[in-house]
Structures are given as C-alpha cells and as structure tokens.
C-alpha cells in the first residue's frame, strides 16, 4: 500500500512562493536587523507616516492655490520668478508655522504659560478623538465596522447630561455616575448593532449608520421636550448647563481648558492595549476578526463575540461623548455635541492601524490639526477647511497603500 501519492494540489497561487516552501529546509531567516528594517519600511506604519506626509504636501498645494499673493506673482512669473518662489515659500511656511503655533507652542506670546497653551488645547481635542478612535479600532480588530460613532456619542452625552442635571449628588458620586451612565448608553447603542449581527447577520455598517439617525432624532426629541432634557422654560433644543458636581476637573488650573477627560483617554489606551494584547477576551476578538471560520471551529462563540466587542467599543465611544459634555462643552447637551468626532474617529483608527498606541498618536495628530486649524485660519486667513482636506487625504492615501508604495518606491509588504 503506497501512501506517498496522496496529496491534493495546493490552492492556485501557491506555486509562486513554492520554492521557499520546501519542507526540508526551514524558511530563510533573515538577520534580525534586516527583519526590523523590513517591518519598518514595508509595514503599515511607514505607509501611515508617508500618507500623512503626502496629505500635507497636497494640502500645501491647496494653500498655494488659495493664496492671492501667490496667484498675483504667478501672473508675472516669467519676468520675476523670484517673486513667485518667495511668495510660495512665505505662504507655506506662514501657514504651517501658524499651525504649529496653534497646536504646540506659540512663540509669539510672552511667558511659558501662554506659549504652551496651544499644546494643552491639542491634548484637550485629542482626548475624545482617542477614545472614539479606540472604540472604532477595537471593533475593527474583531472584524466589525463601527460607523455609528456619532449616534453612540450623542446617546452617551445625553445620558451623562441627564444624570448631570437631574440627579443631585456630591461630586465623588455624581461624576462617576454620570461617566458610567454615558459609557453605558454608548455601549447599549452600539450593542444593538452587535446583537442584530449576531442574531440575524444584519450588516453592522448599515445598522450603525441608521442608528446614527435614530440616535440624532431621539436626542433632538428629548432636547425639545420639557421634562425630558430641555432646559426648563427654554424653547431651544438644549439642556441646562452641567452643574459643577459633574464637570471633569481641570488638570492645569483654570488658565487652561485641559480637563481630566484626557486622563480617561490615556487610561483607556492602556486598558485596550491590555485587552487586545494580553487578555483571553482580546485574543478571541482578534481571532474572530482575522478568521471567523477558524474561530468558530475552535469553539469561540462568534456571535457573542460580536455583541461583546460592540458593547465595549460603544462604551469607549460613549466615553468620548462624556468627555465632550462633562469636559469641553459643559454649557449643555445639544445635538452638535459630537462635533464630528464620531466620524473623525474612523480616520483616527485607520491612521493608528487599529492599534491602541497608534490610535494615541493619531489622536494627538488630529487634535493638533484641530487646534492649529483655528489659528491658521485666524492668523493667515487660510480656510479652516484645509485641515479637513488634509485629514481626508490622509485617509485616502491610507486606503490605497499600493499608491503610497508606488510614489515612494517602497518594497512590497513582506509576506513571502
């Protein structure tokens, strides 16, 4: 009985890499440094960084196009080209130094406290971006597209705001209760999508997008209804301001707007890092995200995993909403509470490659763009939309890694 001729052919496409897959020889092991280098050059991190760079370059072109001085000098570029090039240089360097002054360190001001203020603004903006980014990124890792950041933030903000204005407690109890209520509301709102996917296979993209509308109008209704969330005696769709007892404490005194929400974000980064990299639950999330079939065959309840990951993801996005209402816009709950963060979070998660530390970095970058965008607009008259263009271009380039690789002639991803 011969048993040597029983193999089935390998799947098509396998032969290409065939030569190294000889079983008799362990795979070629490149040097340690070589491997690290390859990872850096070929890995997604490099693509992410280069995407940012490309976006900034294209953004610069747009700044030039909107600059009158550049346009004027371009009219007589043949006669006096130096005028044109110095105008170009002035335009771009002014724009980005304004961005830097607005986002990190303002050299135009006197005193360290004033100069460092932009950095604290950046951190303030970064807080909710990081939290919501974690929520989207965590869902990504389990193979779920959470597009419902807006609805989750609104529901969370409304819940936290409701606890804020309707419950009377000392701060030590009131603040944690409000935070918890917000996180819970976000979790439940996202959990609906997870539950429906687990039960009926309903696609979470559709469900979360639709839940954005439902959430928006639900909160709008509550804000327009006396006795629910609307400030007593008011006709505007807005709640009362948050009482002192639920406002997140300022971290650096009253001169700065930076509040404890940023600390919550940092803790969340650490927790999600542990969850994804060290915990059994995160292990199952990743297994389901990478290969749900194998996860199912390995006894992992895929449906329940979808539900659990959406609950946690929604909780994280909810904390971003809490961050807004109890920290940044304490003047009251409105339907604009999310300030676009629910969608920016998708960008943050993509740029951060859905890794907690990557999301931290991406959140800081986007916080900086947000803070700096205003000062760029104020100082140089550059439309604040340029920042949005840059953000969008980052996503565009990240979504097309082969394009970025081609532009910079990077080697292909090492998968041989």
């Amino acid at each position: 009985m011969s048993t040597n001729d029983e193999t089935q052919p390998a799947p098509a496409g396998a032969p290409a890499a065939g030569a190294v897959k000889d079983p008799k020889e362990p795979p070629q092991q490149p040097g340690r440094f070589d491997g690290v280098l390859r990872e850096i050059v070929a890995g997604n991190a490099m693509v992410a960084v280069l995407s940012v760079f490309l976006a900034v370059v294209v953004g610069s072109l747009m700044i030039l196009l909107t600059d009158e001085n550049v346009r004027d000098t371009a009219g007589y570029i043949g006669a006096r080209p130096t005028d044109f090039f110095s105008a170009v240089w002035t335009s771009i360097s002014d724009a980005y130094s304004a961005l830097f002054r607005g986002a990190v360190y303002n050299t135009n001001l006197e005193g360290f406290q004033g100069r460092i203020r932009p950095l604290t603004e950046t951190l303030k903006f970064a807080g909710p971006l990081i939290l919501a980014g974690l929520g989207v990124g965590l869902a990504f890792r389990a193979g779920m597209f959470n597009i419902g950041g807006r609805g989750q933030m609104l529901l969370a903000g409304a819940a936290a705001g409701w606890v804020g204005v309707s419950v009377d407690l000392p701060t030590v109890l009131h603040l944690p209760l409000a935070v918890l209520a917000g996180a819970l509301a976000g979790a439940l709102w996202a959990g609906i999508a997870g539950f429906l996917k687990a039960q009926s296979g309903a696609h979470e993209v559709i469900v979360t997008i639709m839940l954005n509308y439902v959430g928006y109008y639900l909160v709008f209704y509550a804000l327009s209804k006396q006795g629910l969330l609307q400030a007593p005696g008011s006709l505007n769709p807005k709640s009362q301001p948050m009482p002192e007892s639920v406002v997140l404490p300022k971290l650096l005194g009253d001169r700065f707007n930076l509040h404890a929400g940023f600390l919550i974000a940092l803790v969340a980064v650490a927790v999600v890092w542990w969850l994804l990299n060290k915990s059994a639950l995160g292990f199952r999330f990743r297994a389901v995200g990478e290969n749900p079939d194998a996860a199912r065959a390995a006894g992992i309840n895929v449906g329940r995993t979808y539900l659990v990951v959406m609950l946690i993801a929604g909780g994280l996005v909810g904390l971003a909403g809490v961050n807004q209402i109890l920290g940044t816009t304490t003047s009251g709950v409105t339907v604009d509470l999310d300030a676009g963060i629910g969608f920016d979070a998708i960008t943050v998660a993509l740029l951060g490659r859905s890794r907690p530390l990557g999301i931290l970095a991406a959140g800081l970058l986007f916080g900086g763009l947000k803070a700096g965008g205003f000062s760029m607009a104020a100082a140089e008259g550059i439309p604040v939309e340029i920042v949005l263009v840059i953000q969008s271009l980052i996503v565009l380039f990240i979504a097309a890694p082969p394009l970025v690789r081609a532009i910079f002639r990077l080697p292909k991803e090492a998968t041989a």
Binding site: M1, S2, T3, N4, D5, E6, T7, Q8, P9, A10, P11, A12, A14, P15, A16, A17, G18, A19, V20, K21, D22, P23, K24, E25, P26, P27, Q28, Q29, K278, S279, A280, L281, F283, R284, R286, A287, E290, N291, D293, A294, A295, R296, A297, A298, G299, I300, N301, T415, A416
Partner: protein, 504 residues
C-alpha cells in the same frame, strides 16, 4: 510539433521558483512532470502558457523561438491548458464556454452559437465524449466539466496540451477515463505535458518522466521505475511508502452515531440517516468522492452544522445540540478539511494558533489574561515535538508551507486529552515528509486507544490507515467494509454501487 523549454528561470523577488529548467516533449508523446506541491511545476507551466514571463531561458516550438506575452499568444501558437481549477463560466452553456474569448460573430455582433455547438459536437464525436453543447456548465459533473476544458483547448487546434493536476477532483473511475482520453490524444499526435504528484498515475500513463524538486530538474525516469525510486527522486531522500501499523486492538464501542440526518437551510438532506460505530483503538475511514456528505458529517459531530437530527454519542455524552466548545471540551480533536479556512488564523503566530481552541481557561489563561510564559514554553516544546519547520514560535501561521501549517493543526489537537479524533483530509496539500509524519501520528493516536474518524477523498490514504472503511454516496452509507477490500470494489462503492454480501 515539438515543444522545447531551454534554461527557463523564473524568480519572484529573492526566490527562484524555476531554476534553469529544460525539457522537451514531442508529437504523440506524454511527458509527466513529477514533483511535490510547491516544487515549481505550476510556475513553469504558467511560463509556458504566457501568464508569467521567464527571467531567463527560451521556449522553442519546432525549433523556432516563441515569444509569449499572454495566454492569447500561447493559444495562437497551439498550446492549450487544462487547468487544475477549471476556467469555465458556470452559468454559461458548454458551447458558450468553448467560444469564449474567440467568439464568432455574425451580423451586428450577434453571436454565432451554432458554429460553436457544431465545434463541440464534432470534437465530442472524435473522442467519444458525451457532452451536450447546450448544457449549463454548473449542472455538469466535475469529470464532464473537465472534458469541456479539454474541448475548449482542442477547439483552438491545440497541438500541445498541458494537464495541470487533472486527477485531483476525479473519482478513480473518472481518472481511468481521463487516461483513456489522454492516450487517444497521444495517438492523434498531440504532445501532452501531464503535471502530477501521484506516482501511480504518472507511471501508468507517461512515456517519459521528468522530476522537479525545489524549482530545478533533478532527474529523468522511465515509467518502469518503482514507486520508491520515483518518490526518493521527488523528495530527495528515501521515503517510507507504507504505513507501519500493528493490527488494531479494538476495544468497546466508544463513538456511536445513529440515524444521523443533516439538512441545509432549504431542507435538503446532505446526510440521510447514517449510522456507524467506532471502537476504542480503531480507525474508521470514510471514503467517497468529494461532496457526498463528508463535510457535513464532520461538521455535525463538531457542532458546526445547524440542522442535525439523530444521535451522536461519545462514551456517555450526547453531542447533538451541543456547542462547538462543549464538543471540544468532551475531548474531540478536530483536523478540519481546509486548514486555511477552519484550522488556522493566518495572521496569528504559531503560538497563538496552538491555543486557539483553549482560550477559555487553564492552562493557557488565568484570570482572563494569557499566560504568555507558559504559552511560549508550550509552543517551543510542541514545535520541536511535532517537527514544525519555522523560524520560531512567533512566525505567522499563514507564512508556513502547507505541511507545516497542517502540523500546527495536528499538534494543537493531539496535545489535548482526546476521546475522539476527527481528521478530515489530514494530508491534503501536504508534502510527502509531512504526510509520513501525520500518518504516524494518526496511528499512534489509535494505538493510544482513541477512536479515530478519518475522512479522505484519497482512497490510498483511507486504505493505508483504516481498520474499517465506510463509503458515503449522496449522503448515505453504501457499506462498511474491511480495510482489505479490493480497490475496484471500493471504487464501485464510491460510485454508489452496493457490493454484494455487505450490510450497510
């Protein structure tokens, strides 16, 4: 027409998939290209078919150099290919598929289907095929689909035909028929390149044999060479061809299946009331052509099927209605038929894959946290014990060769305490060395007193490993027979014929 490949070299980055390969095949000759999976056979044929451009070397047809920049050129030059995975449009008819790519058109671009039908009939008649030009391809059995591929190639006047692993999807009988067709083609003057890793088939049909190993030609052999000689040439060292095993010492029945019925969502039965038992220390082989209920059987046992009726008892436990995790906890080891889909997470490391079905507690997890130290020790030990060739336990499973991937799956399952092993296609797409190893592991598992359910579409594997053989056909048991039943009888049973004197 004589085809000659001279010094063909094809590189993919740093890998050399083909290293100065030269071969010739002449009119009315069958050249077999023998080699393991991943030896570079398919790459070479893709060069010949114009899908890849060779980095070095040349192709000559009747002494004239040939430039191929795509399959169109190859076809025009008279080179046809019967692909391993059929290149047919399932919702088209036979005639439409045959004309695809060189459609004859009439007034205002209307398709001249009649011409195509005529062509199909003509070629079918010449070779005695029974193919209806108007049948939808998806409604045809696999063996007939392959004939459509052959007709397609011949309709373009192919004088050189390449068969890429053509028997992988066929029953033994269909394989015999295919060989008849190949002989007929040879007699009519066609030059044939037959790619395979199956020694018996190569010896049965080839005029000459060229053996390829790791991208290079390592030798020529005549069809009179023995299996052992060919295998040694193919693998590069002497190979143990038979599975050494003592006669089974079956204990009491441990695994009992009664009236098992599995239906799909639409209510069609894929398994229709099958019953069998497996004793302790016994291997029950499940033979059958692919798609006769084997997948549903293993998935029903594992709790992966939705509509399961009847009873599956392991010792004192009823498995029907239990979750996958409960089934695994009952001590069932599962080697799924497609490791890439159900067995491994390609992006996970070897270590992570080794704990894939044990993320719910000890020994790998405590207090919700993965004990990475324990996992690394375990993975390191397992890697050595199961001879997994990889750069380390942190290597990604998706980057391993088929044989090493399968060893990871086998290691994961056999490193648990088992009461039953369900092995589906355990050596599909696996190199000879790993096959030997996996077969030894299966026998060792049996000898440790574990009942083993072995599902394979490879009759040789079933015959070599089983103590009893159950043949499935269209979701029913044709019969359960002793392992020494003649191949011919088994082949007939696989086609649904109930042998005399056996009870289902």
């Amino acid at each position: 027409m004589t085809l000659e490949l001279r010094g063909i070299t094809k590189r993919f980055g740093p890998l050399v998939a083909n290293d100065r390969i030269s071969l010739t095949v002449g009119e009315g000759e069958i050249l077999a290209l023998l080699g393991e999976n991943g030896a570079g056979k398919s790459t070479l044929m893709n060069v010949l078919y114009g899908l890849y451009q060779a980095d070095e070397g040349e192709i000559f047809l009747d002494g004239a150099p040939l430039r191929l920049s795509g399959p169109g050129d190859a076809m025009a030059a008279g080179i046809g290919m019967v692909h391993q995975h059929f290149m047919l449009v399932p919702v088209f008819t036979v005639a439409e598929n045959v004309m695809l790519g060189h459609e004859a058109t009439g007034f205002a671009g209307t398709l001249d289907l009649d011409a195509a039908r005529q062509r199909v009939r003509e070629i079918s008649q010449r070779f005695g095929f029974d193919v209806d030009p108007d049948a939808l391809v998806e409604s045809l059995p696999v063996g007939v689909q392959q004939r459509v591929e052959i007709i397609k190639a011949l309709s373009r006047d192919a004088r050189v035909l390449v068969f890429d692993e053509p028997t992988a999807v066929l029953t033994p009988q269909e394989t015999d028929e295919l060989m008849g067709i190949m002989r007929q083609l040879r007699a009519s003057g066609t030059a044939i390149v037959f790619i395979s890793h199956k020694l018996r088939e190569v010896r049965a049909i080839a005029d000459r044999i060229t053996v390829i190993r790791r991208g290079a030609v390592v030798g020529e052999a005549s069809p009179t060479a023995t299996n052992a000689e060919l295998a040694a040439l193919m693998v590069g060292r002497p190979v143990e061809l038979t599975v050494h095993k003592e006669p089974a010492q079956p204990g009491p029945d441990m695994f009992v299946v009664r009236d098992l019925r599995v239906t799909d969502d639409a209510g069609h039965a894929h398994l229709d009331g099958i019953s069998f038992t497996i004793a302790r220390g016994e291997v029950l082989g499940v033979a059958g052509v692919q798609g006769n209920g084997q997948t549903e059987l293993t998935e029903a046992i594992m709790g992966l099927q939705a509509h399961v009726h009847g009873s599956i008892r392991l010792a004192d436990h009823e498995l029907v209605g239990r979750s996958v995790r409960k089934v695994l906890d009952a001590g069932v080891g599962f080697i799924p038929e497609d490791r890439q889909v159900d067995g491994l997470v390609g992006e996970f490391t070897i270590a992570e894959n080794l704990m894939l079905n044990r993320s719910h507690g000890k020994p790998f997890v405590s207090a919700g946290t993965i004990r990475s130290g324990y996992l690394e020790d375990f993975a390191q030990r397992t890697l050595e014990e199961y001879d997994v060739r990889a750069s380390g336990i942190q290597a990604k499973a998706g980057q391993l060769s088929g044989g090493n991937q399968q060893k990871v799956v086998v290691a994961r399952e056999l490193s648990r305490d088992l009461n039953l092993l369900v092995a589906a296609q355990p050596t599909r797409g696996v190199d000879v060395g790993s096959i030997e190893f996996i077969h030894k592991q299966v026998v060792a598992t049996r000898d440790a007193g574990v009942p083993v359910l072995l599902v394979s579409t490879e009759l040789d594997e079933i015959v070599a490993l089983s103590d009893r053989i159950m043949v499935l056909y269209r979701g029913q048991v044709v019969g359960i027979v002793p392992a020494d039943t003649p191949r011919e009888t088994l082949g007939l049973m696989m086609a649904g014929e109930r042998p005399e004197g056996t009870a289902a």
